[in-house]
């Protein structure tokens, strides 16, 4: 009897402790939720965004250029697109900054290393600081990632190595794939959770052997890096590119796509006419974003082309196994 009572008491005490602990936990979670309201990135519907009417596009005399070193454009409140000034480097590469809860991901770091000439770190720090204030998100972690391993897209990577609260994905194929959790490159399609924002990531080699495409289900943007953009698509591995392009089409079949976004603009607004390599002034650029019709055109090209050479389409040129330094200048 006595033992029974004492056992019941013990149980009661234990239950009490658990109850208090649980309520404390609930309280804690509720308070923390009050401090940092969770951002939601639903896959249903589409988070709309805007592109600028015109990107900075260099100037006739690069010496006299007055644009900022990096153009910062907010596509929407959690998606930023950046462009390097063509007067600093003719590549005029685009960079992307995606925000999730407590985390920001910078994809690509431009074509110029020197922070004095191209202060990317400073620009990114300012964006993150502003975003943290706007959305009451302290302690945002930064992930420095890359679309592929070419020097015009990781030149300013060095500026982030000593940044606190930062994950450097790395500039080798192995480090990149380990970060995304891809162990069967390129065919594997993985989903990555960027602080509640779901990204679909898959290998898209052809232009470069470690390239990735990223689909953001919240904005419905499909990011195709250097393997598909309005310009000269330099393909070192034709068969790989064929597979990659067709896979992108399948991803677009299964997911709604608002725009295809990418890394460069090399075309003029005249169909089939490009600005030659090295151009530092592109007053007549088409928009950067592309449509699914253009992807269809590329898919069609994968069935038509069977030998190396230059192939001209309205919105892009295919440089199949043509060295990048080859130009069509007369």
């Amino acid at each position: 009897m006595n033992t029974y009572t004492s056992k019941r008491d013990q149980l009661r005490t234990a239950a009490g402790i658990i109850l208090v602990a649980c309520s404390l936990m609930v309280f804690d979670v509720a308070v923390s939720a009050l401090n940092t309201p969770a951002l939601s990135f639903p896959l249903e519907g589409r988070a709309e965004g805007e592109f600028p009417d015109q990107w900075i596009h260099g100037s006739k005399s690069a010496l006299d250029n007055t644009d900022p070193a990096v153009q910062v454009h907010a596509y929407n409140e959690h998606t930023y697109i950046l462009r390097e000034n063509k007067a600093i480097n003719y590549e005029g590469a685009f960079m992307y900054l995606f925000f999730g809860n407590g985390v920001a991901m910078l994809i690509d770091q431009g074509s110029t290393s020197s922070p004095a000439l191209f202060p990317l770190r400073q620009v990114i720090d300012e964006i993150i600081e502003r975003w943290e204030t706007q959305h009451q998100q302290p302690q945002t972690k930064l992930i420095v990632a890359n679309s592929h391993l070419h020097g015009d897209h990781y030149a300013a990577w060095n500026q982030f190595v000593d940044r606190p609260n930062t994950i450097m994905v790395g500039l080798t194929h192995e480090e990149m794939m380990a970060f995304w959790g891809i162990d069967d490159y390129p065919q594997q399609i993985v989903t990555y959770d960027l602080g509640g924002r779901e990204l679909v990531v898959t290998g898209t080699p052809g232009h470069q052997g470690s390239e990735l495409a990223i689909y953001d289900g919240w904005t419905d943007l499909l990011y195709t890096g250097d393997m598909f953009y309005r310009g000269r698509l330099y393909l070192e591995d034709w068969e790989a590119w064929v597979t990659s392009i067709r896979k992108l089409r399948r991803i677009a079949d299964r997911n709604p796509v608002a725009h295809l976004v990418n890394n460069h603009i090399e075309m003029t607004s005249e169909p089939g006419i490009d600005y030659p390599i090295g151009t530092t002034w592109q007053p007549n650029e088409p928009p950067m974003q592309m449509s699914l019709d253009m992807l269809d055109e590329a898919v069609e090209a994968t069935y038509d082309i069977n030998r190396p050479g230059i192939y001209r389409y309205d919105d892009f040129l295919i440089y199949n196994q043509v060295p990048w330094a080859y130009t069509t200048d007369l």
Binding site: A62, L63, L117, P308, A325, D329
Partner: protein
């Protein structure tokens, strides 16, 4: 003669030398010149470039070499300003039209004024003579159309045709020979200066990609130039651009506006002979010949590369045998 007479004679002579400080432009040896320095060659970021817009180099008292900053235009062409007793001659006018970006007229005015002050004469009449019709030789021509005491001999103009037909330009004591050198550019001419023993070849022969458009004409032009160097002493051959690097056979990419380790501007008669030999070997075929100091190209575009085998020509993939 007493002291007073001597003094008067001395004063007259002194006045004479300053008033009529004429150079007779006749000497046994070539007028010396200085090339011991580096040309401005752009910077990693053109936007952050801090060089002058036009580099002015005084080769000797009456010969100036000008270079356009590559951060303003990637062609970064050279221009030459030569002075005689009566006239000054500007060869080529750079690659940018706008005076605000590329103040060629202002710089030429400054050089001429300083030179005239040193000579104790008024600023001389200026002849503006492009050595060819390329954009990088004619862009700033319009800056000179309104200039006082200036004659602009634009390509296809009658003034230029007269100069070419006469075969010489007399700047007053300094008489330059004019040779027509078509092949890369149908209106190309070269000038020989027997005072400083300099040959100005513009874009007809320079350390870069020489794209032959008219094979027979270029072969003939090179023959003419080689004959000239055999008959007359030539110290340096000055061209219109530099596209080669210091590494033999390697060029800077087209539109590169940062060019460290550039090849020297000047070429020697020996290289002209090498070019003639290479052109003879091309013999009208589609070919790219990479020599240490220049690249000769025939039947392909300016941006064709030597990569691939035998050279990278996309159309070549459509033929079963490229050689």
């Amino acid at each position: 003669m007493n002291i007073k007479q001597l003094l008067i004679l001395f004063l007259v002579l002194l006045a004479g030398t300053s008033l009529f400080a004429e150079e007779d432009f006749k000497r046994e040896t070539p007028a010396p010149g200085n090339l011991r320095f580096t040309w401005i060659h752009g910077s990693i970021s053109a936007k952050a470039n801090t060089d002058v817009r036009i580099q002015v180099h005084r080769y000797n008292e009456h010969t100036y070499i000008l270079r356009q900053n590559p951060a303003i235009h990637w062609e970064a062409p050279f221009m030459y300003l030569l002075m005689g007793n009566e006239q000054a001659l500007l060869l080529d006018t750079g690659a940018t039209e706008e005076e605000v970006y590329f103040p060629l007229r202002q710089v030429v005015n400054g050089v001429l004024q300083r030179w005239a002050d040193a000579q104790g004469i008024a600023s001389p009449e200026l002849i503006v003579l492009p050595l060819g019709s390329d954009q990088s030789q004619t862009a700033a021509l319009a800056q000179f159309t309104e200039r006082a005491v200036t004659s602009v001999a634009a390509p296809d103009s009658e003034a230029r045709a007269r100069i070419v037909k006469s075969g010489f330009v007399d700047l007053g004591g300094r008489v330059l020979t004019v040779v027509s050198t078509p092949g890369l550019d149908s209106s190309a001419i070269s000038l020989y200066d027997p005072w400083a023993d300099l040959l100005f070849t513009g874009n007809a022969f320079y350390p870069g990609r020489l794209v032959i458009r008219d094979f027979d004409a270029y072969y003939e032009s090179l023959q003419k130039l080689v004959q000239l160097t055999e008959g007359f002493p030539v110290q340096h051959i000055f061209g219109g651009r530099i596209e080669m690097t210091q590494r033999p056979g390697l060029d800077h990419r087209l539109r590169a506006n940062y060019r460290p380790n550039e090849h020297a501007l000047q070429l020697e008669p020996e290289q002209l002979e090498k070019a003639l030999l290479a052109v003879r070997l091309i013999n009208g075929a589609t070919d790219i010949r990479i020599l240490d100091d220049f690249i000769l190209m025939h039947g392909v575009g300016r941006g064709a590369r030597d990569w691939g085998y035998p050279v990278f020509i996309p159309e070549a993939f459509d033929t079963s045998n490229t050689r």
